[in-house]
Symmetry: C2
Subunit: 273 residues, 2 copies
DNA sequence: CGCAGTTTTGATTCATCTCAATTTGTGTGG
DNA sequence: CCACACAAATTGAGATGAATCAAAACTGCG
């Protein structure tokens, strides 16, 4: 539950540059693949303003060029579309360039659990490495763009570039640590603590991306928040209302403003009762 | 929540061979490090009967010898002792040779969450990679022995041995997938379903290690089970009693025998109410 | 053999879920 | 641009599963 600190402002100012081309889509998957072109190359890792969040520090020019070559394609995912689904063969991991995703796991009986929300600069798809099939679904919660990192190539490059290897290991480990945080939340916290932890986490990650720490737009529904936090949507809604009554935050549907961060933090360190 | 399938019987028949030597212990940590000797080398990876669980398949003789060299030491951890603690600098990951561990995370206010139970053939410590410090505690629940895998060396070897690299990535990914399973459990299941899932998981992992699928000895207390499952120990106890009344299992303290696995599985796929 | 720690079981309380009604917001097509 | 339909969010009242508090029984360790 710790942010990488070194935040950087990040916008998709090259959006107009990237031409959106329909893929042949023999998979019936109809997502848009942006092939390697001179313009898209220019907007690759070496030029990316998410570099600091996504890549290891201290790579040489030559090494970054190799990365540019590895990350040969992008994919645009429209709001509501899947980046991948549980069961699909695993081939690549994805770096979010712009947008917002959720990942979730489904049980046979229909119950599902949102396992995470991911934003720009974060990596998706590492669940698939273990079985060579994805084990969860990744869904865009807003129109998004990801860099496709073919995993086989990442492994090749990792063997060449020590810093890349180490960085990737850290990214995977961070995912494990993050999951432990969620387990702690689900296992030991009451509803309001969970929501407080959730809001603080979002605030922190927003900050790391150059957005306001106090103000943000939730991309997910109350139900999705509830699924993530192990609560019913009504309980989430009540907790929001309660926080608003207390004056900690202001809530207008999906627009959240943190008015006083103190009590939220307090809730975590000194739970009432 | 899927087992690696390819189970293998595994026993610590070389236990008498390894001489137990007190470490100088300048850390005040008083754990036992077994230095590299001819006998311990003989009992290294190349000879280990956990090989199938722990190592990648298809390594050459030369490659396995490199592994033997990397895994230069063992540590014995007595029941109740820590293998590592949250906050300690991260230097190595650990392969459990014999024994049983729990990992847990502590909150400032004293609440703690057991994040996992680990048995022979499983890897501990990957949480530490991300920050270079361990983020959880690993405690032996019975007298145990681990192989110390210095992480820097693992990264070096991973760059040389493709299969090792890939295998390690799979191990980390499996940890992520496992955590997602726990999140699902904590987020969506009722008490009895959680316990059923827990028992089935233990049974499955026992089987993969050549033990009986029906019968096993719990190494942890009801409280630790409860912490892992997000329940109070009384609730765990009641669920055990209930399963026994129903005739699914027989419980004698820590000795569990699964009498009818059907209803337990049913509980997961077709939750009552 | 006795004591501390663990487990079981019971009675009660409480937080969250469930069910239900209402309000608010969103996207679509006339 | 507005009206409509549908999705999302809020709020209330009541049901319920697990927590809490408490006491007794068991276990195994020294």
């Amino acid at each position: 539950m710790r942010a990488s600190g070194e935040g950087q402002r990040c916008r998709n100012e090259d959006e107009g540059v990237l031409t959106q081309i329909k893929s042949p889509s023999d998979q019936g998957q109809n997502q848009n693949v942006i092939p390697l072109t001179i313009t898209s190359l220019k907007a690759a890792c070496s030029q990316c303003n998410l570099r600091e969040l996504c890549l290891p520090f201290g790579l040489s020019e030559a090494e970054i060029l190799k990365l540019d070559h590895m990350v040969a394609s992008r994919r645009r995912i429209k709001r509501g579309q899947h980046l991948y689904r549980a069961g699909e063969p695993f081939e690549a991991i994805y770096a979010i360039k712009t947008g917002f995703f959720k990942t979730d796991v489904l049980l046979e009986d229909g119950r599902d659990q949102v396992t995470g929300f991911q934003m720009a600069g974060e990596i998706l798809g590492m669940d698939g490495i273990s079985t060579e099939n994805h084990t969860c679904n990744a869904v865009a919660l807003e129109d998004s763009e990801v860099c496709v990192i073919p995993f086989a190539q990442l492994e090749v490059l990792s063997r060449e570039i020590e810093a890349l290897q180490h960085h990737f290991h850290k990214v995977m480990s961070r995912e494990i640590v993050r999951d432990h945080g969620v387990m702690m939340l689900l296992g030991t916290m009451r509803a309001e603590e969970r929501l407080a932890a959730f809001l603080l986490n979002l605030s922190q990650r927003s900050t790391a991306r150059g957005y306001s720490p106090q103000e943000f737009h939730l991309r997910m529904t109350r139900e999705e928040i509830g699924s993530y936090l192990g609560l019913k949507l009504e309980t989430v809604s009540r907790a929001f209302s309660r926080f608003q009554e207390e004056g900690f935050i202001s809530v207008q549907q999906k627009h959240i403003r943190i008015l006083d961060i103190g009590p939220l933090k307090q809730l975590l360190t000194h739970p009432p009762a």
